[in-house]
Symmetry: C2
Subunit: 144 residues, 2 copies
DNA sequence: CTTGACCCTGACGTCAACGTCAGGTTCTAG
DNA sequence: CTAGAACCTGACGTTGACGTCAGGGTCAAG
């Protein structure tokens, strides 16, 4: 059984975060007679999983829905539906992220191409900042 | 030239958000003599881009660094480096999201498999909640 | 000229996931 | 037994991206 500081260190989060997770019902702990929390080794993995879901944009409440096995150990059809919703939400997120990444990558490519000695990379960079493939309007002139 | 409500509606954000973007230096607007904001059509695309970057986990300040062309129209080598950093950050995010998605998908698969008429899907679901391929410890018994 | 939709500038409220501080207890090393 | 590290429970503070309310201009239509 691990102490809270140990779990925090291994999972790469703060002690406060673990207490917060408990408050939110995401992580249980046994208590010593004096009231100190004791965690099984598996708590480390669970915390990392919670962090993953947070990183996926889920809230604590979402995670609570997504981790029914934490409390009940059972996955009902309704829960499966919610899980699927969350999964689809993540899919949409990944799609948006990929799009954003591509636009950034394009700006970078243009920038790297012009930086070495080019006199005025502005037009190309500005184009990259525009919504995909839209022709220039009156905004964002080449700074001249 | 569009009015602020028009831009907000087309970009799918609130009027307040647009004023906030201006406050953060992410979006400029001309003003009528009476002080009302007027935007070019391209503002809609810009707002969508900003939203994309927000969705990618960037802060307003990050976006401000990432969109230097908004103000200067030029991409310096230092900016390129920052762009690359952000891109890599997004890559890491995508990787994490994909991992989270996979774990969710696995839980769903197990759930769907057992739901139709299975009497006790708990063990499988519980396994799916565990860090990848870790054997059962004393926590999370099959609820009985 | 008045009604109503839209716009303006502050400025305070919100929500989530913690950070941080206060004031006190417990555990471990010497 | 004593110092110090680690733990406890409140409870208030923080940050980012807005929401929302107050109080007041603007403008096309009737």
């Amino acid at each position: 059984m691990l102490r809270i500081g140990e779990v925090a260190a291994r999972a790469g989060v703060s002690v406060r975060a673990l207490r917060y997770y408990e408050e939110q019902g995401l992580l249980e702990a046994e208590r010593t007679p004096s009231g100190q929390r004791r965690y099984p080794e598996s708590a480390v993995g669970r915390v990392r999983f919670v962090q993953q879901l947070y990183a996926a944009g889920l809230t604590s409440r979402d995670v609570l829905e997504v981790l029914p096995c934490v409390h009940t150990g059972v996955a009902t059809p309704a829960m499966i539906a919610r899980l699927a919703e969350q999964r689809d939400g993540i899919d949409r997120q990944i799609a948006e992220l990929t799009a954003a990444r591509e636009r950034l990558a394009e700006i970078i490519r243009i920038g790297e191409q012009y930086v070495p000695g080019g006199p005025d990379p502005s037009e190309a960079a500005v184009d990259a900042c525009r919504p995909v493939g839209r022709p220039a309007t009156e905004e964002l002139q080449p700074a001249g």
